[in-house]
């Protein structure tokens, strides 16, 4: 095994300062990218998707639960799967209620959606003790439209992460894929603003990176473009009403 070289504090500091310069450059690159993401246009959703949740059938608008924004984590859990994918499960088991309540303070509701029938979702939730809103898109095109289900019978030319993925046609290829999609509500209309897949989700599991994916961003005064929310906050990572 090869461990880092052992050096004096002064030598370490010199190396650390050089890395710090690169880290700051990356933070600035990320800020610019986040602003460009918020400048994306959006697409009105004209399809009436019907999900099933704990209280029966629900439309996409219902999933907002009063917020202006909705984030959907596409959890890999196919209709004939015994259990959801282990990686998705790992991420969900790390989501404590304060993540959801914190997002709500910034007008954003977070839910999970899988293609497994709701009975199976309810069972998985119960087994793991997860207290997250989780809906079934079993009988709708939702998962196909957002390119996270690619089972062979329904999809001739599988696409994932905005490109053709012919290897997803193989016998052993997964039928369900992970992703995250963001929606914005304006009056009665719902718009799709963003979807991210694959490594685009690596850094998602705290509130700032999550909010950075949405059209309204962190809703802080320093962000570009301006004027997305009525009362932007200061640049403080607190999440109270």
């Amino acid at each position: 095994m090869a461990l880092p070289d052992v050096v004096s504090r002064e030598q370490w500091l010199q190396a650390r300062l050089s890395l710090l310069g690169q880290e700051k450059e990356m933070t600035r690159q990320r800020d610019r990218l986040n602003a460009d993401r918020r400048r994306l246009p959006m697409v009105r959703i004209d399809t009436e998707y019907v999900f099933e949740g704990p209280e029966g059938a629900a439309g996409l608008t219902d999933l907002f639960d009063g917020s202006r924004q909705l984030m959907v984590q596409h959890v890999m859990f196919g209709p004939d799967w015994e259990r959801p994918c282990p990686s998705c499960s790992g991420a969900i088991s790390n989501m404590v209620p304060s993540v959801f309540s914190g997002l709500r303070t910034r007008k954003t509701t977070f839910v999970l959606v899988s293609r497994a029938p709701y009975a199976r979702i309810a069972e998985a939730k119960e087994q793991r003790g997860w207290d997250v809103p989780w809906y079934s898109s079993y009988s709708s095109d939702f998962n196909y439209d957002f390119e996270v289900s690619v089972d062979k019978a329904d999809v001739k030319e599988p696409r994932y992460n905005y490109r053709d993925e012919p290897e997803l046609r193989g016998e052993d290829a997964p039928t369900e894929l992970p992703g995250i999609s963001c929606f914005l509500r304006d009056g009665d209309e719902v718009f799709h603003t963003y979807s991210s897949f694959a490594r685009g989700m690596d850094y998602n599991w705290t509130l700032y990176p999550l909010l950075d994916l949405t059209a309204l961003g962190r809703q802080e005064e320093w962000e570009e473009p301006k004027d997305r929310v009525e009362a932007p906050r200061g640049a403080v990572p607190t999440f109270d009403e």
């Binding site: 461990l3 050096v7 460009d36 993401r37 790390n94 989501m95 607190t238």
Partner: protein, 240 residues
């Protein structure tokens, strides 16, 4: 208020693909920086720091438990403060037992350290219902050496690797936030990394924590090679 322009799905897709290229560039940039971080040298800790925890005094090496690595979140709570800083609080509120379990499955312990005496820490921890191990650095040089307590009378006015005298002052002690990583090799403990300010903003999931450490995610695709005896595949699962 200004909302995004409404576009057709074809127009949106074109804009999205353009952004995707930038996003991939950032992911690659992040991956390269993470490798650079693991290439940093490390410094042996020769000073004996004695912390106080729920079971009395402990040393830095004790904070590792059985793990090879230790991540310390420097929580802003001074001896004369009534409560932990709200930003630190929000971060700790979002920690799930799964984070600590997953880190531990990759040989990495996680602990909080503040300069307040342990009695105050125990009281705040109880009140907030936190489960993360939290130690007091009261009476040690630890917080000064790692630049998260500033005190002009001790000549320590640096934060994020530069002099920040503007952060001094006010009626109470000057505490700052940060994260520090340590590696154990036999009886020796080494400091590998510390990050402050916006450098801590994207931390929270198991990968982002592990990306700060000398051993990384411990997966077979990472550079530099050969840091752990048995590397895993590039798969975000965290079982022992």
């Amino acid at each position: 208020m200004a909302l995004p322009d409404v576009a057709s799905s074809g127009e949106w897709r074109k804009a999205r693909l353009e952004l995707l290229a930038h996003e991939k560039e950032l992911t690659r940039h992040q991956t390269a920086i993470n490798a650079e971080r693991r290439r940093l040298p490390m410094v042996r800790i020769d000073k004996k720091y004695v912390f106080e925890g729920p079971d009395g005094p402990v040393e830095l090496k004790d904070l590792f438990g059985d793990s090879r690595q230790l991540i310390i979140q420097h929580v802003m709570l001074g001896h004369d403060w009534d409560d932990a800083c709200p930003g630190c609080t929000a971060g700790i509120d979002e920690l799930a037992p799964g984070h600590l379990r997953h880190l531990s499955s990759r040989d990495t312990a996680f602990a909080l350290v503040s300069r307040a005496p342990f009695a105050k820490i125990a009281e705040v921890k109880e009140r907030k219902g936190w489960f993360t191990p939290w130690y007091s650095a009261y009476g040690t040089d630890f917080n000064y050496d790692f630049q998260v307590s500033l005190d002009e009378s001790r000549g320590q006015v640096e934060y994020n690797y530069r002099a920040e005298p503007g952060l001094l002052g006010g009626d109470r002690s000057s505490e700052m936030s940060g994260m520090s990583c340590f590696l154990r090799d036999g009886a020796n403990v080494f400091h590998t990394y510390s990050t402050y300010a916006r450098g801590t903003e994207f931390l929270g999931n198991t990968y982002t924590f592990l990306d700060m450490t000398a051993l990384g995610r411990q997966e077979d695709w990472e550079e530099p090679k050969d840091r752990v005896p048995a590397v895993r595949g590039g798969d975000p699962t965290f079982t022992d």
